[in-house]
Symmetry: C2
Subunit: 195 residues, 2 copies
DNA sequence: AGATTATCTGAACATACGTTCATTTCAAGG
DNA sequence: CCTTGAAATGAACGTATGTTCAGATAATCT
């Protein structure tokens, strides 16, 4: 047997990426074999190499796409103007964006050490870019007197860690709606940064 | 060849656990083979099984020991009394304790999915116990009016995420001393929870 | 000194891995 | 209807995996 009835490149390609993302998030990159991914797609392992150079590219491409998407989405949404307004927008954006991409976020945080040195450097650069978006807002707010921030970098890291942490405990249909979570987190972030 | 000169169980045992912790933290459980651990210790792979039932026990035992140590250390240090005092003690304790055990903390957060279901349940129970320590302090503070907390559980998770995040960016000998970091984080946590 | 026992080796086990490739099958175009 | 090429198979490759175990060795005890 070979080519399956109804098989098509434009369908299989995305399905490979989706299966890899699901499995990497649930079991970890190192624990997921190409054969497992292929089985999830309904194909033999060899066929995956029509859609990716190798296993490493599968990981890197999804991480890079995620980071680019994060940076692009914020650039689109950034209201500009005063730091308080921008930070509120960022807090709400961050929570929403990350909650809608739980698998990709999980992978972006957990699989850094499974990247080759070159790929690691590339992803790290994107991460730093996002961190500097946050740090920039805090710096502006410090300069304008809107925020009582001692160290903009430290506070940026603290805020990001706190926000991303939502992913580890929030489950849809739980006690709190995502809007409510957004509200409370923004309240905590704001208070932690003002007088 | 067989038994090495100067070989001794009380020495090799801890060295196996130390090597496993180092390697699991750096490369991930799934990516570390028993042969790699053995090589780090300077022994053949088969010898490891004198000190651990299997690879899974190596992971579980170190994670469980870490969690027990965390809970015990806090119980020892808990000053009791009013929530504000207790929370400050906890914030400083958490940062210090986690910074001194970077590898163990990393593993405790990253390798949950490589535990068997039974082991996962056991570790998760310990984690929940610690989360409830924090949540308990916030609840007390809410009841006494010391904290303006809307949802004690959510705030507890936010605080823990923020504090543990220090591990991802703080490097010894950097711009800020650990005492300074403790100070600033406590300031942020306190402000985020009051008025 | 000789016997005992804890400690470790080295080979073996079945199984799985990522990747390549000749071959086969199906869908589409003329 | 026949040709062409994209899409997938399935077998093969060398290597690595966790774990077991009979045998070898050095430290300890009598």
């Amino acid at each position: 047997m070979a080519r399956k009835t109804g098989s098509h490149s434009e369908i299989t390609g995305p399905r490979v990426r989706a299966a890899a993302e699901r499995l990497f998030a649930r079991q970890g990159y190192a624990a997921v074999s190409m054969r497992k991914i292929a089985a999830e797609v309904g194909v033999q392992a060899g066929a995956l190499y029509l859609y990716t150079k190798d296993k490493q590219a599968l990981l890197f491409d999804m991480m890079d796409a995620h980071m680019v998407s994060l940076l692009d989405a914020w650039q689109e949404l950034d209201p500009g103007g005063d730091p308080m307004t921008r930070l509120e927008a960022l807090v709400r954006f961050h929570i929403r964006f990350h909650m809608e991409r739980q698998d990709a976020v999980f992978i972006a945080y957990m699989e850094l050490r499974n990247l080759t040195p070159e790929n690691y450097a590339a992803i790290t650069a994107r991460r730093k870019a996002y961190e500097q978006v946050v740090e920039g807002i805090l710096s502006d707010g410090k300069a304008s007197g809107a925020f009582a921030v001692e160290d903009a970098h430290l506070s940026a890291m603290a805020v990001i860690a706190m926000l991303t942490g939502v992913n580890t405990w929030y489950r849809e249909g739980g006690r709190l709606s995502l809007e409510r979570v957004e509200e409370i987190y923004w309240d905590m972030v704001r208070k932690s940064l003002v007088g």
